[in-house]
Amino acid sequence: MLVRLAVRNLSRNLRRTLLSLGSVIAGVAVIILGQGFVGGLEENTIRAQVDTMSAHLSIRPADYPTEGLTHPVDALVPVDAGLTAALDSSGGKWTTRTLFAPRAVHRGDSIRARAISYDPVRDPQVFPREMWNVAGEIPTDEGVLISRGVARLLELNIGDVFVLQVRTHKGAVNALEVPVAGVVSVGSPIVDRFGILLPRKVGNALLGIDDGLVSHVHLRFPNRNRSTAAEDLTPALPRASEMVTWQDETRAMLQMHQIRRTALNILAFALLLMSAAGIANTILMAAYERVREIGTLRAMGMTRRTVVSLFVLEGGLMGAAGSVLGALIGGAVVLYFNINGIDLSVALENASGGNVPVSTMLYLEFSQLVIAFAMVFGLAVAVMASIYPALVASNMAPADAVRA
């Protein structure tokens, strides 16, 4: 009967109830959307870094620069038999790359590019190419693959020939005419804006280095959270080299996301505080409108505690309904963009900061835990907000209330 009474009481002033309900719905939905967005951004950052640049573990020259288009080739990592054996027994797939920053010249225009010299056989095993959008072909021997950004800036098409100028491993100046075998978009601005991908043979010829020298060794494991891989490989690490994990590579960005997450939580909390004020106001008004009714219930033998329960139940029902609806709305939106993603390519193309690891497709993170938390939080806020008006109602003197 108490539940029936609470439900019917809520329907008395439907407009007021719906307004309070709306604020709970908004609060809960914002928590779910915000967390889904930030969680998606985190995963997006990790995926962009892992799938295009670093894989799960990288070995590179010690003190390798991490900012801008700086890719020195004077100090490289020797891939000797010992390292090869350790890599083979690491339990993951591995490949090698040499990054350098050539000047790309075509018909009088030139740009500084980020070139990746790759192993045509091993590279696809470590850096998945399902998301690559390639016009033309991925070269394995001759020719290069240029990014859309380079193609646009230098007005290059498939079959065109342009010049790459570099400082070689030994410090000499070298240049090579290379044909465009294909134009690629890999889904990450790091590569898509200034990237040029060359088969190992072309890269080595340009840089004047032997097969056994590379700037990076990359490993990919079936599970990215494998924690012992770095320790296992440490004994085989060449001198003057360092090992970095995907966590090291993304730490700064993830910390930024953590700040965003905190800011979003504060915003959602503020929204739910407003909901709490709305609910408290709704219940308090209801209590003052129903003074005689409360007096009658008390005269009929309802205890103060039961009066409190009745009003808290009304707040709780509002919170429960708001939480469920908020979770349904927020969850549905997050799930939709979790499956279909949000295409950021246009926004990223116009944005500065090409060094930021971001995938062009943002998939929101759908977490049942976040949804459950948001629902419980919404409900708890509603229940807590209704305690004060419930106490006001229960403290009414029945003798006076009954004749109000």
Partner: protein, 227 residues
């Protein structure tokens, strides 16, 4: 043994210069099965006395006993339990719960009295039938006339078979014909079930039907007549 025993009850509101004595040492005893009217002009202390007897308020001084229990010794939940099981209330403005149907209003009284029988619904319907509302179970108060609402209130007060029914000017908001019909029902319940009724009223018709009329003036009993 008296159902109600009030001994030297004082009720004072306010303090200092604003102090008002609503009751000034009232003593009264009501026997089981009595149909008693408390009368008196407005402000004489009728409602205050009913509040004390109905365990809705406590005296500033003095004692109120219900079925031998000194209610001033009881705490909130115990008083609530006593009201729920042993006292029925009928109010001038009917005081039905507007979101509940007639049957639900009556059932609620049973639930608060912790009536745990599976036939609560049937009992509520029987109580409504007894006051002549057999076909209006599912109507809400706003779908009933004043007289019908007061009958629901009577059914609500009686369904739990209380020792005492307190009725605060129960006919004041009804026309004379309807008021008389409601009064007939209460008188019938009093005679058939020996339920004790205690009224406050100005209505001479109610007083004419009472066993006893107690008159209050300025917080004191000034007359106590048996009829």
């Amino acid at each position: 043994m008296a159902i109600v025993q009030v001994v030297g009850a004082w009720k004072t509101y306010g303090q200092g210069a604003a102090e008002v004595h609503a009751l000034r040492g009232v003593s009264i005893s009501i026997a089981p099965g009595e149909f008693t009217v408390i009368s008196g002009p407005s402000g004489s202390g009728k409602s205050t006395l009913l509040n004390l007897i109905g365990c809705l308020d406590s005296p500033t001084k003095g004692r109120v006993q219900l079925e031998g229990t000194d209610v001033s010794m009881l705490r909130g939940p115990q008083l609530a339990a006593l009201r729920a099981r042993r006292i029925g209330f009928i109010f001038q403005s009917f005081n039905l719960i507007p979101v509940l149907t007639a049957r639900e209003n009556v059932e609620l009284a049973l639930q608060l009295a912790k009536y745990d029988g599976s036939d609560a619904k049937a009992r509520a319907e029987a109580a409504l039938a007894a006051v002549g509302l057999g076909d209006l179970y599912d109507r809400r108060p706003n779908q009933l006339s004043g007289g019908q609402q007061q009958r629901v209130a009577v059914a609500r007060a009686l369904v739990k078979e209380p020792a005492l029914v307190i009725a605060d000017e129960p006919t004041a908001n009804l026309d004379s014909k309807t008021g008389s019909a409601v009064l007939d029902i209460m008188r019938e319940m009093n005679e058939e079930r020996n339920i004790t009724f205690l009224f406050s009223t100005h209505d001479p018709k109610v007083m004419a039907r009472a066993h006893r009329v107690v008159t209050l003036t300025d917080g004191l009993i000034t007359a106590d007549e048996a009829r």
